[in-house]
């Protein structure tokens, strides 16, 4: 049977259409995916992301552990609460998962990994933790809510106890902060997300999640499902693990070069040698954003036809904000300049598309035309 989050009963009660997602029974929408999408772009929406896996990593050498484990460099994390997005690579430079790691103190980092990869991620991390004396704790006691949209932070802050409001208000983008509660529990509030909008992600005791959700609904925050989450992240040109990259793809050809830090030559992160060999040999592909100029809808796995050879769409959808179809694609490096024309085989018809600069939409604004 599929796993359920602490909010399962609430979703069913709200009339959600439930689907299997990475072994979890999750809400795909609560009626209209497009209305949920617009609510996040224009006001505020709330997503259950409790299926994602929160892991606490503790020990005096925890920084050294992450320095080896992930492709981005935790040396960038010097202020408590700062978050870093990174890939975790195998020795071949393939992507085991993408994750966010939060630096709390020199003995304590918190990492959030994807739902569908949690078992292999945990096995990979646990195999390496002992040599760094790092203890890993899976925080199955926590639920995780993503409240996103231009009005999301204000609405969340209004629910917080008085003593935490100013520090939550002051949180900079890509920072998180533990907020101890009077009942002994703790919320971890982070200014992060996966929609291209401002907002918070909140990790809190599982038992509190349903009432917090309902109170946010009462404040006008719209329940939003994984369907809207996908169209929002695609408009923001954020990668989805399993679609846009996986263990057979490297980050340099998946639009994630910006997350790989080669700067410190002494840092021997897993996958580094393989990526350097790939760079020396010359990368073959580039990861691009495509805008469909003809009518239709781009979808994952469709073939991209170019003068320099074929590529493939990794994620495609209809953009509710732009009312056009958009996609992310891996194409031959030779053709991948912004403005280049390509064709996509959509159900046997070749449709015209154009390489554009990502992202498509950010903070409620359309950035490509």
């Amino acid at each position: 049977m599929a796993r359920r989050t602490p909010l399962y009963d609430l979703h069913v009660g709200l009339g959600a259409r439930m689907v299997d997602f990475g072994g979890w029974d999750m809400p795909v929408n609560y009626g209209s995916q497009i209305e949920e999408h617009h609510a996040v772009r224009q006001d505020a929406g709330i997503f259950d992301v409790s299926h994602m896996c929160v892991i606490d990593a503790r020990g005096p050498r925890v920084r050294e552990f992450f320095s080896r484990l992930i492709a981005n460099d935790v040396a960038k994390l010097q202020q408590s609460g700062k978050a870093l997005y990174s890939c975790m690579l195998n020795e071949r430079g393939g992507v085991i998962d993408d994750l966010i790691v939060y630096f709390l103190d020199e003995n304590f980092f918190r990492v959030v990994v994807n739902a569908g990869t949690r078992d292999k991620d945990l096995a990979w991390m646990r195999a390496m933790a002992p040599q760094f004396g790092v203890q890993l704790t899976e925080r199955i006691d926590l639920a995780m809510l993503a409240v996103q949209g231009p009005n999301a932070r204000t609405k969340v802050i209004s629910l917080l106890p008085e003593e935490h409001r100013s520090s939550a208000q002051a949180l900079e983008p890509f920072f998180g902060k533990p907020l101890p509660m009077k009942d002994g529990g703790e919320w971890f509030v982070a200014r992060t997300g996966y929609t291209g909008e401002d907002g918070f992600e909140i990790m809190l005791p599982a038992s509190e999640a349903p009432s917090v959700w309902s109170r946010l609904n009462e404040l006008g925050v719209k329940s939003a499902g994984l369907g809207a989450r996908d169209t929002l992240r695609l408009e923001a040109a954020m990668n989805l693990y399993g679609n846009d990259m996986d263990e057979n793809q490297n980050p340099l050809e998946s639009g994630l070069s910006w997350t790989v830090s080669f700067e410190n030559p002494a840092r021997d992160f897993i996958g580094r040698k393989a990526l350097e060999a790939l760079k020396d040999a010359g990368l073959k592909n580039k990861f691009v954003a495509l805008l469909l100029e003809d009518r239709g809808v781009l979808r994952g796995h469709q073939k991209v036809v170019t003068a320099a050879g074929d590529g493939e769409i990794t994620s495609g959808t209809f953009s509710p904000t732009m009312e056009k179809s958009i996609a992310l694609a891996r194409v031959p490096r030779a053709v991948a300049a912004v403005g280049d024309r390509v064709q996509v085989d959509v159900r046997g018809k070749l449709l015209n598309a154009r390489v554009v600069k990502a992202p498509f939409v950010r903070n409620g604004k359309i950035l490509v035309s």
């Binding site: 795909v28 009518r295 209809f318 509710p320 159900r347």
Partner: protein, 128 residues
């Protein structure tokens, strides 16, 4: 529970068929089908004059989630595709049995194997 009007005929692949006063048939997808697909964003309707065999895919409906073929249970010649769906694909969501019709067809033979509303409801229940 999804709606399925008693005056229409249905297929196991979730199309509905209405016989019009002029003898032509109108075909669309059911309330159950539109609900399962989610918000419709693109519909490729057939051109008038196209000849179809029973079981042919005649249209593509695309929601934010996925693309699906729509099949005709009746052979014949396309009289018209619903041009309104070009700009308003959401008509299939809001009124699947009225403004959301997909094509009108001049039948080339009697339709066979269609389900009544009650039989279609039973089929849905069995599909779970």
């Amino acid at each position: 529970m999804s709606d399925s009007p008693a005056d229409l005929k249905y297929t196991k692949s979730h199309e509905w068929v209405r016989t019009l006063a002029d003898g032509n048939v109108e075909i669309g997808i059911t309330d159950h089908a539109q609900s399962a697909l989610g918000d419709l964003v693109f519909v490729d309707v057939p051109e008038a004059g196209k000849s179809l065999k029973a079981g042919d895919a005649f249209a593509v409906v695309e929601s934010v989630k996925a693309a699906s073929d729509v099949y005709t249970p009746v052979a014949g010649t396309v009289v018209e595709g619903n041009a309104n769906l070009g700009s308003q694909p959401e008509l299939i969501n809001s009124e699947p049995y009225k403004g959301g019709w997909i094509m009108r067809l001049k039948p080339g033979g009697a339709p066979a194997g269609l389900l009544s509303a009650a039989e279609y409801q039973a089929h849905l229940a069995a599909e779970g």
